[in-house]
Symmetry: C2
Subunit: 438 residues, 2 copies
């Protein structure tokens, strides 16, 4: 039986939308041979009509009104690639109301409004697919929701923001400062003019929120994600870490501790022998620890036109396959059946236990170290490794760098506050968390 | 609507079968919350009845007759974990005749008889799932068949045999010989008493055959896979490779060249900076290059009881989800619709183009090198790097090591034959292929 093509409405034909158009055009035959059915974009919405028309060359109807495309009777699947959480949200909700399936790459939208969107989709019996929302073309959503279904997921640790990983790679490789590396990333188009979302960890927190919900079967809880960016990292910290056998990566980490779920994005020291420590430039990698499978890792381009389009089109094929099937045959949006979600709480950051890297700038005087180590001992923090630098000629202060054993965040906070009050400690203490990822 | 549990018949409760039993018992609730339906093993077949009964503890009917389990009316899905290509084949074919779905970890069976098995399954409208057949718990089958559907796959290069990767890691780490590393692997249970399948590359060739068929939409063509094992590798080669910036891995490589499909397993020099060069011990990793997504990598435990069971149970969940759906909604066995398979030929090995590492043991006399380089030039092989060792005191012969640019295999074969005829070349030439994996 020859099935008729499936008709798609594309909202936004910018970087990812243009890539989606290109992939469907270029590999259309290959995709039809896989899906058993052609997938074609019949309508495109974009504010820039001229650009859209130039790309589409008359092969799809072009409109400046995205709602018009969403409501067009010939559109069966809506691909939302506009971004943001205002208009995009209305468009996705309207598509669901119209009984249309949705494919989106919008992590901010799902992390913030996913619960409402999935509930509405469920009521209407439509699918909302979002492989492109995390790690671009890497099929991590599919791995988590389907490939690892047999496992109780223990934790996930991922490099899920390519911009910040590029900046950290550059800082280490070239020994340059954060500001220089950021400027370089902007020059190459890897960072936006306003890079806050990327470097402050917000983009990674959006993606981590999605991964955490899928891993542990909880609703999205973006508001409870603890987020720290890479802006304060110095070349000195990167060099000290290297000296101690670690590399600094901006990781999104989520872990089921039994008492609650950790949900945190922060710079992290990782042993240099781990594969994930060697993920360089704009690449993404996600390490998933399951109780049966052990640690698995998924690596690839986390952004960019064609890699992200790869995920959008994979979702289109998935939706196409199941479009006439009973909703019960579909993989649940949040990996677990909607009536089986977990209410495990998110653990507050001060209850998290990690190892730490601490760098303290102190006056080069006798007794300084013993006062610091006493504070740490009183806070139940034990030291695994220490490097004390010789003072440069004429320099009154030196760096002391320590790696601690596992300690409660609250205790570390208190110890740092006490250490910073010592008259011999001349700068705020730098604390970077450390994960062995075993 | 509450759905009744799905009933599974388990054939073989050894390493992987026992793991499957354990995972379903341990994570049964988690799996039900995902699948929307409980999955339970109701019958187990094993020749060792005592062992089976001890594991199963009365929670499933135990039989020594696997055909009995296959034919039992209460069994809806048959899990084949017996291995081999004789009885296992009859059991799988009988299950299909009975209209039952099959989950198997049997790569040898699929690589050799997959075409007949999938054809029979298609006629009967049943699923044959085989995630566990390649790379244990790493969901690489799912990634290839579903996650990367948007892509024209260009090539795949994988470490898909943990035993040989362990041996190579040990040889490099400890500077020991192949025989010593093999003995170590056997002592730790990573290698069988007869390790031929693993070290000769046959197991990797089975898995590569499956990956290649899925990537390029061709039938299984195991008989045409070119296979070379790791038995002849020396510590000297590993050390020279390291010196030149490469690591030696047993890779399964399949590539669509346009003229045909390369299908080859052999030791391979890989630049040490590539992630895959840093995959150590029994771990597996598969690098997949798609035209849209670029290079993606999938890493994890490629064998073992629980990791392999993780894949078996993921397949059980997939089959459970789609068991009452129309067959047309299912992902096709070989990734492409059965009427859309490609007839691209497998390229004979002598038409393959690669870079090469060549080690030649020569008498330490003037003029030797110039004769060798002339032969290479006449064979259209150009040299990218060379290391000539100083002869040890009193040693009459020395090693010359070269890395060539890309050259046609046939030309390299001829050049090697000519070089080996030179009276100043005292040992057979060692040739190891080199891939930059970009």
């Amino acid at each position: 039986m020859k099935m008729k093509p499936i008709n798609v409405g594309l909202l936004g034909i910018g970087t990812v939308g243009g890539g989606t158009w290109e992939v469907l055009a270029r590999n259309g035959d290959e995709i039809r041979r896989r899906a058993g059915r052609a997938i074609r974009i019949v309508r495109v919405a974009d504010k820039d009509l001229r650009k859209a028309r130039k790309l589409v060359k008359g092969k799809a109807a072009v409109s400046a009104d995205a709602f018009h495309v969403v409501r067009a009777p010939d559109v069966e699947i809506v691909v939302e690639l506009i971004g943001g959480t205002t208009v995009a949200r209305e468009l996705v909700m309207e598509a669901i109301r119209q009984g249309k399936h949705v494919v989106t790459a919008n992590k901010a939208l799902l992390a913030r409004h996913g619960n409402a969107i999935f509930a509405a989709a469920r009521k209407k019996g439509v699918m909302v697919a979002f492989e492109a929302a995390v790690a671009g073309g890497v099929p991590i959503i599919k791995a988590l929701r389907e490939g690892l279904t047999a496992n109780r997921i223990e934790w996930i640790a991922g490099i899920i923001n390519g911009t910040s990983n590029f900046i950290l790679s550059e800082m280490r490789d070239k020994g340059i400062s954060f500001a220089e590396a950021l400027a370089d990333a902007q020059k190459r188009g890897y960072a936006e003019a306003d890079p806050t979302f990327d470097i402050a960890g917000v983009d990674a927190a959006h993606k981590l929120t999605i991964l955490s919900a899928l891993a542990f079967g909880t609703p999205m809880q973006f508001g409870k994600c603890s987020t720290e960016g890479i802006q304060a990292l110095t070349s000195a910290d990167i060099a000290y870490a290297e000296e101690l056998g670690y590399r600094i990566k901006l990781l999104g980490i989520t872990k089921n501790t039994g008492k609650g779920i950790e949900l945190r994005v922060h710079p992290t020291l990782v042993p240099v022998r781990r594969l994930i420590a060697n993920v360089e430039g704009v690449m993404n990698a996600i390490l998933v620890k399951g109780d049966a499978v052990g640690a698995t890792l998924y690596y690839g381009a986390g952004a960019g036109s064609l890699p992200t389009a790869s995920a959008v089109v994979a979702d289109l094929v998935d939706v196409t396959r199941l479009i006439t099937a009973d909703p019960e045959h579909r993989v649940p949006h949040l990996a677990f059946q909607p009536d089986s979600l977990s209410d495990a709480p998110i653990l507050p950051m001060d209850e998290v236990v990690t190892c730490c890297y601490l760098r303290m700038r102190v006056l080069d005087k006798p007794g300084v170290l013993s006062r610091i180590t006493r504070i740490l001992a009183e806070s139940k923090i034990s030291i695994e490794a220490m490097v004390q630098k010789e003072a440069g000629a004429g320099e009154p202060s030196v760096d002391i760098v320590m790696v601690t054993h596992r300690a409660l965040e609250r205790n570390v906070d208190r110890a740092i506050a006490r250490i910073e009050k010592l008259p011999t400690v001349v700068e705020p203490v730098t604390r970077i968390r450390l994960e062995s990822l075993l």
